[in-house]
């Protein structure tokens, strides 16, 4: 067969988000990839200059619904730095809790989509069934399944009392039990999954560093970088070790995420048990002035917000750099030379998220 160009997207069931990949194929081997973007651009950075800086929390949180809480957190951390607000300790621990809750549901979502892209429907269903347990916790603690909307400048909007913490703990244990019994064994051992993922989409440690990959994509190649190590929110007190795999293929990236789910559960339980008593929200007087940066670890990697304020209600500039933006170049290394059938798996393995990349 001659060279064909397949438009992959912008509407395609394997990629829930609209991005177009123009795949150049020779027979079924991919020889070139050209991502075409912009389908989801809303102009949020500009909108953030038009709105009151407190309202921006709600926009930032809807840059993307999957790690929505972490976007809000990153925004708030920066805005708090600019307005010199000290967040009460209890709020910092609660922020860790909801961050990890987002991460858990994001990783599960991704593991499910991966199974689905491999045509493993029953595993997809089981993973999403387990994910509902996490969403229930989200609804119970934050009042919504997806958009937690609990983080605002100066602290958090909702508290988790003792009784609810106990209930959450119980649900987390049940969730872990379900992971152990039905999902982890399949992900770790199933030969068909391994056949589809092992050795596919290789990214060496050097390439990962050179291309500036972040998050699980880099950790799957043995680069032990996790922004949570900088100790924002209460991560310093809670403490953790980044999850690293060294193989550098799609399977290694899968394992990183699968192991991080366990890590998240531990972090959530720790955050709830170590949480001190006290205030959860302080008043914010004053307006953003000067410049600030804030960095957090999203499920997909490092998220950076840059702020510039001029002492008024509105920000002068808000710039967001998202993990997928840093990870897309790695696709250009991974895809050429692979089979058409492996394209979805490899593309998914960096967990591309267009919503926040294009904002």
């Amino acid at each position: 067969m001659a060279r064909t160009v397949i438009p992959f997207g912008p509407q395609h069931p394997v990629l829930p988000e609209p991005i177009q990949l123009k795949l150049e194929l020779e027979d079924e081997t991919v020889v070139g990839v050209m991502p075409i973007i912009g389908y989801i651009h809303r102009g949020i950075e500009k909108a953030a200059e038009l709105n009151d800086f407190r309202q921006n929390v709600f926009i930032c949180e809807r840059i993307c619904g999957i790690c929505s809480f972490i976007h809000a957190l990153t925004y708030c951390e920066g805005a708090e730095a600019m307005t010199s607000v000290e967040v009460p300790p209890r709020a910092r621990f609660l922020r860790v809790f909801w961050s990890e809750l987002s991460r858990t549901h994001s990783h599960l979502l991704w593991l499910g989509l991966l199974a689905d892209s491999m045509g493993f429907e029953s595993l997809f269903m089981q993973i999403w069934r387990a994910r509902e347990m996490i969403l229930d916790i989200s609804e119970m603690t934050a009042g919504h399944r997806i958009i937690q909307s609990t983080c605002i400048i100066g602290g958090v909007r909702r508290d988790i009392d003792k009784e609810m913490a106990k209930e959450v703990d119980k649900r987390l244990l049940a969730f872990k039990e379900m992971l152990d019994s039905t999902i982890a064994p399949v992900l770790l051992r199933d030969p068909t999954i391994k056949r589809r993922a092992v050795g596919k989409g290789m990214l060496s440690k050097e390439q990962a560093e050179l291309l500036g990959a972040v998050g699980p994509t880099s950790r799957g190649s043995g680069v032990a970088i996790d922004i949570r190590q900088t100790g924002y929110a209460a991560y310093k007190e809670v403490g953790f070790e980044p999850v690293v795999e060294t193989a550098g293929d799609s399977y290694a990236r899968t394992l990183v995420r699968a192991r991080e789910v366990y890590q998240c559960v531990e972090l959530m339980r720790k955050a709830l048990s170590m949480m001190p008593e006290g205030e959860i929200l302080v008043r914010v007087d004053g307006y953003p002035e000067g410049e600030a940066m804030s960095r957090t670890e999203q499920p997909r990697g490092e998220l950076i917000y840059y702020f510039r304020g001029n002492g008024t209600n509105n920000l002068e500039r808000l710039k967001i750099r998202t993990p997928t933006f840093a990870n897309i170049p790695t696709l250009l290394v991974m895809l050429p030379g692979c089979e058409m059938a492996d394209v979805p798996v490899i593309t998914l393995s960096i967990d591309p998220c267009i919503a926040c990349t294009e904002r």
Binding site: M1, T4, V5, I6, P7, F8, H12, P13, V14, L25, E28, A115, D116, S117, M118, G119, F120, E121, S122, L123, M125, Q126, R129, D190, T192, I193, R195, R196, E339, M340, A341, D342, V343, P344
Partner: protein, 289 residues
Amino acid sequence: MSTGWLIGSAVIAVIVAPLIGGLLRGIDRKLTAHMQGRIGPPIMQPFYDVIKLFGKERCVAGKAQLVFGYAYLTLIVTAVVFFALRQDLLVVLFILFLGCIFLAIGALSVKSPYSQLGGHRELLQFLAYEPILLLAVVPIALKLQSFRIATIFESGQPLLPHLWLSFIALLIVLAIVMRKSPFDISSSEHAHQELVRGLVTEYAGPYLALIEIAHWYEMVLLLSILGLFWVVGSLWWLSIIIALGSWFIILIVDNISARLTWSWMLRFTWVAGISLIGSNILFINLGWM
């Protein structure tokens, strides 16, 4: 058996086969849903789908594709008729192959790259299972000295004890024809695949319904061939159980495995299929089976 009776059974087969096929698809979806912890659609769902498709607005990508689509359906029905008339098994299979090739050519006749790749894959898939299917009937002939289905009915002894290796090879073929994991490479049942139901992307509305019905015929035909491995006069229900049992095994395998790539599929079906059937033939010749 009288000719009149045979013709009657052929007519019944043509009418009943799609009903059975559709019903099996419905049960298939229900069982799959239950295995995944869901309720799933009603058992009559495939019929609703097909009737609805007939009520959709017509649209064709190309006249040629339509012709190929109709040819596919007609040939599959012919194969079913020949089977019901208890003709030569080889003839039935060749008509079936011809039908499948028309389906692939139909997909290749439109410009859409998805359809093209889907057609291409269908041909590859075809390459994977057709030789196995053909070879699998050879041991039958070796055993009975004839390819005629009527002979199998007359022989009065079950084939399965002698031919269980070929039977396993046929199970692989069945999985491919039912487009189940790990072999659903050209048109996955649940569209979540890189080709978006590649093979049938360009068929829409009533035409998609016809293709669906042809699939039902095809599945029932294959199940009947599997059933042939146990036809003993009074124990005829055992052959139905065997066919349904095989069908159930395929369902289970579908739910516990991921889709594999076509290159792997080709290798697997050839190596496994040929070695299974080859050893079967060998054993027959050695008089062990």
